[in-house]
Amino acid sequence: MNQTVVSYLSQYEFYDFLLALFRSNQGVLAFTLYLLLALIIVGMCATIGGLGTYAERKISADLQARIGPNRVGPYGLLQMLADGVKMMTKEDIMPFTADKKLFYLAPLLCLTGVFATLAVLPFSSGFIMADLNVGIFYLVAISSLVGLGVFLGGYASNSKWSMLGGMRGASQIISYEIPVTISILAIVLLAGGMGFGTIVGRQGGLPHEWFMFHNPFAFIAFFVYSVGALAETNRAPFDLPEAESELVSGYHTEYTGMRFGFFALAEYIEVFVVCGVAASLFLGGYNVPGIKLDILPMQAAQFVIFMTKTLVLYYVVIWIRWTLPRLRVDQLMSVCWKYLTPIAIFNLMGCAIWMVVFNGKSIAELVLGSH
């Protein structure tokens, strides 16, 4: 069965207390809990997205020997609030010839696609909104709404820059979905399931128990996934849909105020989601090294572990952005179709053969003897 956060909480005593509070109405209580936790997760991830913009500027400043934002709040930490207020109070301009309905719809599609992925992101073994049997598949499928939002945003603006940016965005996202999905499939093969609970549960806390170091093919798959995920989230060096030097700002050139903010927020949260997926698929996810207990304080430790891994990857993504130059469009496509996709398919077959030949044992188990 599909595990959910509510079914996890129901094993504790305070759930019975809450149930008594709701006069034993299971459905209403479950709905309330879901609503509350969804608000918490969305709020938390929106904050992380907002802090992402701050981190981006601060880290880029570090890399370029500048200081970065330092005026608003301690160390400039409240910069994102200032930006938010600025975006809210800006005039909402729409081009006269824009396709109005689609113009309104596009940023919402982007944001919906990203927030919907948060439902299966495993923050800890209990704090995962819904541990679907098809978790990772759901994540890959629903995040294609982002590509649609990018495309429609480019189309509806009715401007040359936006159109080019939107078309680039859609083609890039569709193309890079393939190596990313095949890399994920290799991990699904190792784990024997598509649910995040299964995938993370098959790994351990220590590096030699991670799927990344399970076999050489999974090691390569991690890098294929990382490159593909960078391209899927339109991050540099693959940020061609919004290439400033050619397309002004790409698909969101015509967007102002909070509508632009939605696009930016969606991008930063998507980077967080992608990093979280990489952490839970390849880097052992929320597993705490050495300890296997099923008590409530353990969840906090797992949450910290997961966030640490994810934010380290987030740092690397920003680091890459401010280090590497942008690719050309033809280079982008040849990287995807001529290099990443064949490598990903090779990895998939390699993992399959490894599972058959070594009976599903990892390198560490083969070397250290199985336990």
């Binding site: 599909n2 459905g27 709905f31 396709d99 309905k101 689609l102 719809l105 679907l132 049997n133 098809v134 598949f137 759901y138 890959v140 499928a141 629903i142 294609s144 709404l145 590509g147 649609l148 495309f151 429609l152 189309y155 078309m167 859609a170 083609s171 569709i174 979905e177 399931g193 598509m194 649910g195």
Partner: protein, 178 residues
């Protein structure tokens, strides 16, 4: 109660968006309505407990087909191609003349009657029983079915897809000048 809510909202989404596809004049808007309709169908699958099929519906149609349609519409003229001509019923002329409408109506009536007959038979014959399932999830079940019972169809469809892929590569390949 939640399942009922899911079913009703999915059904309303599916039907209203399907009507929207037909009613709006702008072909890009039609595509977006189609997206809503397909999402609604995914919701219907989810109501039936077919989680894998529901996600595949989103993956294939939302992630692939609708984006492809939008691309095709945009590259072939997009919004400029709005049919202004109308027939007697006030519908775009390109949708057909009175003969096509008559044939469509006839087919619709026959289809409806057949379906009513089928559904009546089903509701009577269907005994209420709990389905025992030895598989832990639908994914496992589909996997078992694909590589055991329906392996021939599975392999044949993969060969078909490979053929389509090779064909696309040949068409897209730049021709040699000689």
């Amino acid at each position: 109660m939640f399942l009922q809510f899911l079913f009703i909202s999915s059904a309303v989404l599916t039907v209203s968006c399907a009507l929207g596809v037909l009613m709006v004049k702008n072909i890009m808007h039609s595509c977006v309505f189609l997206l809503g309709s397909l999402m609604g169908i995914a919701g219907l699958y989810a109501t039936l407990g077919a989680d894998f099929v529901a996600i595949t519906q989103i993956m294939v149609y939302v992630g692939g087909v609708v984006i492809l349609m939008l691309f095709a519409v945009m590259l072939t003229g997009g919004n400029d191609f709005v049919s202004r001509a109308q027939n007697l019923l006030g519908l775009p002329a390109s949708m057909g003349n009175k003969w096509t409408y008559a044939i469509g109506l006839l087919v619709g009536v026959v289809f409806l009657l057949t379906n009513i007959q089928l559904i009546r038979g089903l509701t009577k014959a269907l005994p209420v029983k709990t389905i025992t399932n030895e598989f832990p999830s639908t994914v496992t079940q589909i996997g078992h079915l694909l590589v055991k019972d329906h392996v021939l169809a599975f392999e044949m469809s993969s060969v078909l897809l490979l053929g389509a892929l090779v064909g696309a590569a040949i068409i897209a390949r730049p021709r040699k000048q000689n």
